[in-house]
Subunit: 435 residues, 2 copies
């Protein structure tokens, strides 16, 4: 599809991690952005390209076009556990409610539950996700069928799959005939994985020259127990195993020590914060300010819908900024612009989606339209701050992935109807409700 | 308007602070709920009331009808300052950015800025607000013109108005020919108000047998300085001045001491928590668990859009529950059901709107419809937890106040167009941008 968006405002990169608003146009050609710039630039480009043919011209009515949000840590198919088991201690939730039901998941379940999650991403303006869950090839199939962009890593641990499975999944997904899906080496976490297996992951990272991602320092007890076991924090341990030769990063990063920040800086690792999950599961508050101060790249994730319980990036952005403020008891720390940069650009870099970080010409057409004609976007004192501090899913007027409009004015453009997907999701959880 | 909502699910009161979901119907007659119950009960009621004539029959398609949210602390017209001055220390924000511009507000400004706020309330399913701001009669006029329900209190302090003005506003608003508006005695806060003036408020409360509301213990320095000045916390001081003879309560209530909880319990005072404002302005985290444990009634408010920066009740509910969990480092504290009860019912009691707390027959028709056909409401493991932990403004399909549908499928039913209201709001802030 070649689409001309006119009468738009564009969220373009500014100095450093800032943004500027440009009144103008954006054109897509197939899966890429062919042009984005001012009205004058558009006029000039039009006069030089007499052969341009549009499938559709969309009058944006001065609504905002911007890069989609990058959900840099999630377990999409966990949608089936949403609101099944809340308001209980973390260990009961995980060991009594989550694990026994996950054991019963089939690849077919994953497919349908991923579709439900992808629908929810689209309503929130999320255009790609960094997923860790079971049956990666099936997860990739769901994304390709939906037209959604997914980078996967492995949830490899002591239970179930082997290091050979991890390698096989890496190869299957990375050789699929679609640039919507890719795979980066990773595993669940130190506390669920034996030394032998972690060493296997390190060897695989070396073999593929891949970054490595894992849950890291989500809870205090996780870090305390790792130090007790190995005399090192998870970050120190992974570094000593040579796991970060090609970069990577940690999900959550709540309970980090001074040495961990040093390692992250030295290795250029990404910190992926999951603020909603961390407060709801009472894990703690990530020190986002310190990551930013130390110039450690920061991305944002929703975690799975079982934890938090929604895939809502506006809520995550709000909490990323405001929890830092209350943690430091200083309203001036962590500027909205930094948070928006993490949400749309740094998340892309973290997932190795360097063509999805801005809406400049040549980049992938992963674009959302924000409705500026809703009351929460008015008056227009500062559009970036309005997005981070006042925005909601209600403002997402369109979500385009890889040049295809998958969601527009509340309607989905997917191969299954919403009711079909909802019926499947309810059927799956009903099957295992009493286990 | 007499409306028959059929094929609905209804959020009805359960035991204590819980809810139950009833499949059935709801009928409105003018400003009240004429019937709400199961399909069978509806059938029986229909056969007994042959004279029923509907202006409209709405097929709810199994969407959820529930009481609207009660925004129990806000400064509606502060919409003009949204996103104008964020990410700065609290004192700079208040003294350099907010106060100088508030000085320039006219009654006409208040009218338009209130309309903008009311639009935003409607998109979030808020059906009434407890407002504190300038020019209460104009604020009341905006609510009446919009068809919105507003309870006001005074922002009385050392600057500007007199105790006679407060009394006059009380009388004007309470004698207006509309049950949409009312006025309860209150003032800004101890730290902005002289002893003489506080004593005047206490006398007025006695004269009108009115509860008294004020900002209380929002910041640590506020409480410390009050103790330094008077040897008492704000709550102790108000109680010693006889201000709580007829009840009332405090907004924020973040920095409460043991004695304060005792007084609140003894006087049956309401604690109104404002979690988004408190984290964004780095004021602290309210101990919601303790209020609930002590059976002190808890309501929820957004505060003004200058603080937080949106009037989004889903965000407030999420933070009310989850900040309590992270504060106590225990995921099991504060159940979603308690938070929903605060949001829809206890907020009504706090504002003396005892006819607006449920959607039972005979109550006021302040009703919202939640779209259950959005992905974040699926699967339907637990509707109450879905609302509190996964809900968003995107789920608000309809907002009815006093029997009138004011918002439906994204469209407003107001006497001015959205663009007219937005233009006024931008004009007002542009006029005073550089002050």
């Amino acid at each position: 599809m070649n689409i001309r968006f006119n009468n738009a405002r564009l969220l373009m990169p500014g100095e450093g991690h800032s943004f500027k608003i440009v009144e103008g146009e954006l054109w897509t050609k197939d899966d890429r952005i062919a042009f984005s710039g001012t009205k004058e630039e558009a006029k000039k480009a039009l006069s030089e390209n007499e052969m341009l043919v549009w499938d559709e011209v969309i009058d944006c009515k001065r609504n905002l076009l911007m890069p989609g949000f990058k959900d840099a840590h999630t377990h999409t198919a966990m949608t089936f556990l949403r609101s099944l088991a809340d308001d209980m201690p973390l260990s009961d939730w995980l060991y009594k409610q989550v694990f026994p039901r996950e054991d019963k998941l089939t690849p077919d379940d994953i497919y349908w539950l991923d579709f439900l999650g992808i629908m929810e991403y689209l309503t929130s303006g999320i255009t790609s996700n960094f997923d860790m869950y079971f049956f990666p090839p099936m997860n990739a199939k769901a994304s390709v069928d939906a037209g959604f962009r997914t980078v996967q890593t492995s949830g490899f641990n002591n239970f179930g799959s082997t290091i050979e499975d991890l390698e096989e999944n890496y190869n299957i997904v990375n050789s699929m005939d679609s640039d919507l899906v890719s795979f980066i080496v990773g595993y669940h976490a130190e506390y669920t994985t034996s030394m032998e297996r972690m060493e296997g992951v390190a060897r695989l990272a070396e073999k593929f020259k891949s970054p490595v991602f894992l849950h890291n320092a989500e809870t205090k007890s996780e870090v305390d127990e790792c130090i007790e076991r190995w005399g090192k924090t998870p970050t120190e341990l992974m570094d000593s195993l040579g796991m970060y030769e090609y970069g990577g990063g940690g999900y959550h990063c709540v309970w980090m020590k001074d040495k961990d920040y040093e390692i992250m800086k030295k290795r250029n690792l990404y910190a992926v914060t999951n603020p909603c999950s961390n407060v709801k599961l009472a894990s703690g508050i990530c020190d986002v300010k310190r990551f930013l101060d130390e110039k450690i790249p920061l991305a944002i994730g929703t975690d799975g819908a079982a934890s938090n319980n929604a895939l809502d990036f506006f809520r995550e952005m709000y909490l990323t900024a405001t929890l830092a403020k209350v943690k430091h008891m200083d309203a001036s720390v962590v500027d909205a612009s930094e948070v928006l940069y993490s949400a749309v650009s740094e998340g892309a870099h973290c997932m190795n989606l360097n063509d999805c970080d801005t809406i400049e010409a040549g980049k992938k057409a992963d674009i959302i339209m924000i409705d500026m004609h809703k009351p929460n976007m008015q008056p227009e004192n500062n559009i970036v701050k309005n997005l981070v501090y006042a925005g909601s899913k209600d403002n997402v007027k369109m979500t385009m992935v890889n040049g295809q409009i998958l969601y527009r004015d509340g309607q989905f453009n997917l191969m299954y109807s919403p009711e079909e997907i909802y019926a499947k999701a309810n059927e799956i959880i009903n099957r295992m409700r009493n286990c």
